[in-house]
Point group: C2
Chain length 108, copies 2
DNA sequence: CGTGTAAGGAATTCTGACACG
DNA sequence: CGTGTAAGGAATTCTGACACG
């Protein structure tokens, strides 16, 4: 209903110093995770990084995994795997709908 | 359920340049509305203003009213009036509950 | 009253690099 | 590999003031 509430979470408006305060991470860490393709802030015309609340949550998640000894490229691979699973799930849904469709047309 | 979605809207994390882009207002206007007690950004330790998405919405509302010729102090008065109405409504609710309460105890 | 602007200073952010391990 | 830090520069933000009307 209030779809704006969702965009608040994804709107990239927070600069790195505020992200530092929100997450407790150092700016060095935040920029490094970007270098390792784990986070993708927007950039202003002059090059200043802007993050969303969703990015902030993701950063905390990343930091926790690294604390647990997971390497950055492993985190990236894990996310790719999850993306693939999501794709597969969508295909299954579509397949199910198609089958239901043909059943109606063939069985009668 | 996801009560964080609400706090996103009220968390003061946006600096004035981004607010300018979000609202289309000038920084001068944004600071002036604060001077007139219509908006209340947070401040970092070093004095940088930080706004929430709710503040951004309020700023757009303020700007629209000013465009319509409403003066800043009138906007402030109008809000005070609405605050009062809200208070009165709460009292009414409370009164209603009290009456229902006594009815149960007295009528039986 | 509401807004623009130039002024000078302080705080923020950026990149590339060296360091440690 | 992940993070700290000093370095120099560029972009941002702040306040108080003058201007117009």
């Amino acid at each position: 209903m209030n779809f704006d509430d969702k965009s608040y979470k994804e709107k990239k408006v927070i600069s790195i110093g505020t992200v530092r305060e929100l997450t407790g991470l150092s700016e060095r860490q935040i920029r490094y995770y970007e270098e390792r393709k784990l986070i993708f802030p927007a950039r202003t015309a002059s090059g200043i990084r802007k993050y969303s609340f969703l990015d902030v949550e993701r950063l905390v998640d990343i930091a926790n995994q690294i604390e647990d000894g997971v390497q950055t490229y492993e985190i990236r691979q894990q996310w790719k795997k999850k993306e693939k699973q999501k794709e597969d799930w969508k295909k299954q849904m579509l397949k199910g709908q198609l089958q239901a469709h043909f059943k109606n047309y063939d069985g009668k």
